[in-house]
């Protein structure tokens, strides 16, 4: 996934680049704002644009309109104006979403994820890891001939492990993920939930499916 940053403040641009790269996005940037940038934007391949509204000599709304005439790339507006006017304008000029400064990391990442998802809906029915199946529709976990139903937050936890097999997942990462899914857990409750999940997995004959990596986090597969 490649994101194009259109932001004139070099410091913010730099930090956004680091943040998004840490979250496995590829980044392209516009750095010269002295000329008309719409043409340059059109030339760059991208899956999403983060577009600042207040740019030197030009404004984001107009740029958005021009881009949308040529291609249907999703655009998230970024602004420090919080008035109703800019929100309305962003909708009218064809923007897909709207985020206000100062960037809240979690909100920004979630909006990006959501906007990209809208463009490419991916529907799995089930995921397999090492002979264990997670049924995404019925929120069941199946192993050999046994299966057990999961609660919503147990399911979310396990889902995150399933989409990241063989990778060490930190508690922080799990918390980030769960918070984005509207489960506002704290550290202790997360541990409780993981232990409860492990007990359930043991009930269908899965011993140590989720392994603890000391001082680092957890892993499956």
């Amino acid at each position: 996934m490649k994101i194009l940053l259109v932001e004139d403040d070099p410091k913010i641009r730099q930090e956004l680049k680091v943040l998004l790269e840490n979250n496995q996005y590829e980044i392209a940037m516009i750095e010269d704002f002295t000329k008309d940038i719409t043409e340059e934007i059109n030339k760059i391949a991208k899956d999403l644009i983060l577009l600042d509204i207040n740019l030197p000599n030009q404004n984001g709304f107009d740029i958005c309109k021009k881009i949308k005439e040529k291609e249907s790339v999703p655009i998230i507006f970024v602004t420090s104006c919080t008035g109703e006017e800019s929100e309305l304008k962003s909708i009218l000029s064809g923007g897909d979403d709207f985020i206000t400064k100062p960037y809240n990391k979690d909100i920004l990442l979630e909006k990006i994820k959501r906007t990209i998802k809208k463009q490419n809906p991916i529907q799995y029915k089930e995921i397999n890891v090492n002979g264990v199946t997670l049924d995404l529709h019925l929120s069941l976990v199946k192993y050999q001939n046994n299966s057990i139903e999961l609660t919503r937050n147990e399911f979310l936890l396990l889902y995150y492990f399933f989409i990241n097999p063989k990778k060490i997942i930190t508690k922080e990462e799990l918390l980030d993920y769960l918070w984005n899914e509207k489960y506002y857990l704290d550290d202790n409750i997360l541990t409780v939930n993981i232990n409860r999940l492990r007990k359930k997995l043991e009930e269908i004959g899965l011993q140590d499916f989720i392994t603890t990596i000391r001082k680092k986090g957890y892993k499956i597969g």
Binding site: D9, E15, L19, L88, P102, K105, K182, Y184, D186
Partner: protein
């Protein structure tokens, strides 16, 4: 009436002197007075009629002017509506009124302009200051510096207060009402405060929040942010809890936010929405006394009802009621 007679005393005395003089002349010249006395008597009657009629006419006119002022919303504009008087004595008053209201209106316009300039400056300031704030915020995220992040969040909160204070004073409608799920609003508030909540080990429960309300998203986010920040600030137990619950009924949606913090003294509770009120027992620093005041003010503008209930040392519950409008259908 007595005032009026007093005012006309000159005229009455003049008449009486005139009658008296005629009587004296008649008496001295020893004339047959019957006819003259009759005519003098007629004079008196005519005078009385004149006085009564002019009294009634004038009181009516006065009433009309008074009513004109009473019915006017912007009373300082009254001089535009009053007719220019024809008689000599009122002319000066009319002149004074005109001049005074003109001077006053000029002053009002000047102040309005100044205020508008100030407000525009505040808006610009807030927007400008958000750019470096955004840079620091991203920097602290990338460096995983949670302490710095929390401090930035505090500054941002104060800056938002300034912005919304300026907006709440503005009489124009500058909010944007749309239909939105309460859970989405709560979600954004939670994400904004995630580091703060996790650092303080607060247990969050959110229930039944998948309900639509028709309101301005950003204003409500600001309001919930203030309330949440208060809750976190005044936590005093080992196990810290904040519970959000939504109750929907036929014509309203009720959002309850309950914390198990230190609560509010009974004697203070009626004043928590007052501007600058920081509580009589709260020793916490960094209280501007603006948070809840702004919440109340913004709620009033959005036609939301906000109420607070508390038991000292046990809990505080803030309730916000969203009326269901035709937008729901």
């Amino acid at each position: 009436m007595i005032n009026y007679l007093e005012e006309k005393i000159g005229l009455i005395l003049w008449y009486l002197t005139f009658i008296l003089l005629q009587l004296v002349i008649m008496f001295v010249l020893d004339m047959d007075a019957t006819f003259l006395i009759f005519s003098l008597f007629l004079y008196l009657i005519l005078l009385s009629i004149y006085l009564i009629v002019s009294y009634l006419w004038k009181t009516k006119k006065n009433k009309k002017i008074k009513r004109l002022v009473d019915e006017l919303d912007e009373k300082y504009l009254v001089s535009e509506l009053i007719k220019k008087p024809k008689n000599l004595e009122n002319e000066a008053y009319y002149y004074v009124l005109k001049k005074a209201t003109k001077a006053m209106n000029d002053k009002i316009t000047e102040l309005e302009h100044k205020y508008q300039d100030y407000e525009e400056y505040i808006e610009t300031f807030v927007h400008e200051v958000k750019t470096p704030l955004a840079a620091i915020s991203l920097y602290s995220d990338n460096k995983k510096d949670h302490e710095l992040k929390q401090e930035v969040k505090k500054i941002d909160n104060l800056v938002e207060q300034v912005l919304f204070y300026a907006r709440s004073e503005n009489t124009e409608k500058d909010y944007f009402v749309k239909k939105i799920k309460l859970s989405e609003i709560i979600h954004q508030v939670m994400l904004q405060n995630k580091d703060y909540l996790l650092a303080n080990k607060i247990i969050i429960e959110v229930e039944n929040s998948d309900v639509f309300v028709a309101t301005d998203e950003k204003w409500v986010i600001f309001i919930l942010n203030q309330i949440l920040n208060n809750s976190i600030k005044y936590m005093d137990k080992d196990e810290k809890r904040i519970k959000l619950n939504v109750i929907e009924d036929k014509n309203k949606v009720i959002l309850e936010m309950k914390d198990n913090g230190c609560g509010i003294k009974e004697s203070d509770i009626s004043r928590v929405f007052d501007k600058g009120f920081t509580g009589s027992n709260r020793k916490k620093e960094h209280s501007t006394g603006m948070g809840l005041y702004l919440c109340k003010k913004l709620c009033d503008r959005l036609h939301l009802n906000i109420a607070i209930e508390s038991k000292e040392k046990e809990y505080t519950t803030v309730t916000i009621i969203f009326p269901k409008s035709s937008l729901h259908e």
